[in-house]
Amino acid sequence: MSDAGSAVIASDRLHEPFGRYAVDGVRPSQVWAIHDAGELGAALAEASKGRRAVIPHGAGIHVALGNPPARYDIALDLAPFAGVIEYEPDDLTIAVRAGTPLAEVQSLLAERRLLLPLDPPGADRCTVGGMLATALTGPLRHGYGTARDWVIGMRVALADGTLAKSGGRVVKNVTGYDMHKLHIGALGTLGVIAEVTFKLAPLPRVERTLGIAAPTATAVCALAAAAQRGGLPLMAAEALAPPAANALAGLHGWALVLRVAGGPNAVERAVREVHGLADRSDATTAHDIDVATFDAGWRAAFRPDGLAVRISVRPSHVGRVLEAVDRRLAGHGAQVAATVSAGVVRVVAASADEATAPHLLATLRDVTAHAGATIVIDAAPRGAKAGIDVFGEPRQDWEIMRRLKDEFDPVRILAPGRYLGRL
């Protein structure tokens, strides 16, 4: 650690606790700007000593995710802790600091026709650290999996201020426990992600994005399943409810957006297959849509805002769940989409408020109760979070999670109360 604790809270680095650092309406009493790993460690050591609760803050895009904090004294602003540490395009790896905007990483990679295939809601604005702490995913999940599949190394600041790394900068590694998996999606409750190394994917040589409209969600999901069964090379296969279909793909009714990628001949064949699938069903003809418009629209529409809910079901149940959600939420202006193969249905009712959100939530629970679904609330008005756990009820493995929290954060300074079961 380069800095002593006192340097961290020197006045030039002490921000006003503006409202933008508020979490579920709770404002911190201080904001500490973090510029490097040493400073991050020192800040946590200091916070630990004073038993002051910290919440790491990136771009604030996904701050709505989590239970209301039990305590919140200091916002750790990691935005200044940004930049590329090491980029080896020939090895397909990049190491970046947590505060680095994801979009900056993607533009850098695109110059060498590479891609970090993670596209959560708000991908155009969020930081790498924020994306990992929340583990939110987007349409690319169909073809590329989740953040845990792309992180190969991590350096984390622990509650006592020590910095611990795991993994490295090689794409295959079983040296020591896979510690970074614990921190992905943990909302900073076991440690604060400082630096991350990713493996990268090559950008496909050719890409086409096709939109198909169909009268029902079931029809759309059947098309998605058929495309998958056919082994088509798909980066994404996203089902959209009518409002999203119209807004993001210019289609009427339900829609399936397929992002086909590969060599020119493979893409040509896949496009032919997609047309064939559409023709054999009661869907409309598949036509090309602009992927940039779709991406931008998706990222904005499904940013956790108002009431945002993620429903997880077996992929084979997605169609039914989509239809039920759409029917029961009609008139509430909700955006609904699903990554069919992952069994993830997203619902965002941006205009929901404290008065309407509890009712919508109850409806969603009712609709999904029969489908064996789990529900996570990615955002809800403050009042609607009262008395519930946004992650749902803890299961039998929660005891191990509690012991993990005890080990990693014995004095409960890391975003206390925000995680599953109020950890």
Binding site: T162, V171, T175, Y177, M179, I184, D397, F408
Partner: protein
């Protein structure tokens, strides 16, 4: 039991009696002759268990663990014993829990591409069982005909096709575990959306030190419509390496890119007559899969890239028989080496891919300095190299030279920005190299994870962490004697 305190108990007759009572006599062995087969795995390491149990369900695993814990004796989970880091060796004795009889495929959900299996299911058997549905299980360690899914999970096993499809951790969604207090707990589920910390991610690759896996929910993948395999023959290893870079830079991600060096060619060719020229310096085995059009155009592009970079010859195989013949050179390489030398020792290091050639050269130099032969087969696409040290274990001091050379090679990997194991695990073999990669803070964080699972040192003691007091050292002399006694092909 606190971390760092090794189990003190010994397996007495009454422990064996209790195990027999709980599991049934036919599921417990304890005579020295019966135990011999459970002293070793695929490595040089040896360790004698006092008793081996063969539970047939989760409750029996739990019962065995409770008895062992009650007497404070170590518990070592074991699959097929094909591991290459000593993970299944009972380092300080105790109860080996062999999971080979728990080999049911409990459920195959074809539509959602998921299987639920017991840990003793053999890797290849799972793929065979789901093949009629057009599915397969992607991780394919070289031992896949024998190794078990449970062992794969313990070691986070890889395989040639990791390059495109990832290792075991990328394919496991949920686990049923027996914790060290005997309790049974499910972690994860049927998707990645299960709320809470990623306990599945923590357990996969934990080398049997946190929990015993009694059930696994895994992802299945769709069998590709078409697969093409290319064999590219190079006079210079640098040209082979540059070809790998060019393929990836062109935006292609083959499902496998394997490299075989001259020493391996010399061993393999007389045995299988694959047509490898003995004067070639390296051979690349590249596989692409997907739509027919995709493999056709990718194979064409790869052939051209390799030729432009100096490949002497590129062969493309489309039908299954031709492909198998090409793969035979890779898959039989280890046993072919076994025919030429009384003993060999397989290492597992990883470096950033572009550093591969330099490190391979370093392995030649290190081996020569120690008066040993070395043959390299490696997963060139992801920088994972497997130098095989070839020697005669009966020669005085040979084993010591092998261990010293192996350590130097691992050091070379670390210095090139890599690490000491890509897919075999730390186990017993590499625990003392861990500090080359991780400092005390890093290891302390790992110990917190270990503590949270509450296993202390009951499960698989002396593994995966630097040697602790009481674990002792397997002395070179003991190893040499064991190797001499076991003879030629004992370490496959």
């Amino acid at each position: 039991m606190t971390i760092g305190t090794l189990p003190h108990g010994t397996v007495t007759r009454s422990v064996v009696r209790e195990l027999r009572r709980a599991l049934g006599g036919e599921r417990v062995i304890a005579t020295p002759e019966e135990l011999i087969a459970y002293e070793y795995d695929g490595t040089i390491e040896r360790g004698k268990p006092q008793v081996v149990v063969f539970p047939e369900n989760t409750e029996q695993v739990s019962a065995a663990v409770r008895i062992a814990r009650g007497h404070d004796v170590p518990v070592v989970p074991r699959g097929a014993g094909t591991g290459l880091s000593g993970g299944a060796v009972a380092a300080i004795g105790g109860v080996v829990v062999a999971l080979t009889r728990m080999k049911r495929i409990i459920e195959v959900d074809v539509v959602n591409q998921i299987a639920v299996v017991e840990p003793g299911v053999v890797n290849l058997d799972l793929s065979r069982a789901v093949a009629p549905h057009g599915l397969y299980y992607a991780p394919d360690p070289s031992s896949q005909r024998a190794c078990t899914i449970g062992g794969n999970i313990a070691e986070n096993a890889g395989g040639p096709h990791c390059l495109a499809y990832g290792a075991t951790t990328n394919h496991v969604l949920g686990l049923e575990l027996v914790l060290a207090d005997g309790s049974i707990v499910a972690v994860g589920g049927r998707s990645r959306e299960v709320p809470g910390y990623d306990l599945v991610g923590a357990v996969v690759g934990s080398e049997g030190t946190l929990a015993i896996v009694t059930k696994a929910t895994v992802r299945l993948m769709r069998l590709p419509e078409s697969t093409r395999t290319l064999l590219a023959i190079f006079d210079h290893i640098d040209d082979a390496s540059e070809s790998v870079s060019a393929i990836i830079a062109a935006g292609m991600l083959p499902s496998a890119i394997e490299m075989i060096d001259r020493q391996v060619i010399a061993a393999v060719e007389p045995v299988i007559n694959a047509g490898f020229p003995l004067d070639a310096e390296a051979v690349l085995l590249i596989e692409v899969d997907g739509l027919e059009e995709a493999t056709a155009e990718d194979a064409g592009a790869i052939e051209q890239l390799c030729t432009e970079r100096g490949a002497r010859e590129v062969r493309v195989a489309v039908d299954a028989r031709d492909r198998e013949r090409l793969w035979a050179g890779r898959k039989t390489s280890i046993s072919a080496l076994g025919r030429m030398y009384p003993n060999y020792y397989v290492l597992d290091g990883v470096v950033p891919r572009t550093k591969l050639v330099g490190v391979v050269r370093a392995t030649y130099e290190i081996a020569a300095r120690h008066g040993l032969a070395v043959a390299n087969v490696f997963h060139a696409g992801d920088g994972n190299l497997h130098p095989n040290l070839l020697f005669d274990g009966r020669a005085p001091g040979a084993t010591a030279r092998v261990l010293a050379a192996g350590a130097e090679m691992m050091r070379a990997c670390v210095e090139a920005g890599g690490t000491i194991t890509g897919e075999h695990g730390v186990g017993l073999e590499k625990r003392d190299f861990l500090t080359w990669v991780y400092d005390q803070s890093d290891l302390a964080a790992m110990r917190k994870l270990k503590a949270a699972f509450g296993a202390g040192e009951l499960y698989n003691p002396c593994k995966a962490f630097p040697t602790s007091r009481g674990c002792g050292e397997l002395r070179e002399g003991e190893i040499a004697r064991a190797m001499a006694a076991a003879g030629g092909d004992a370490y496959v």
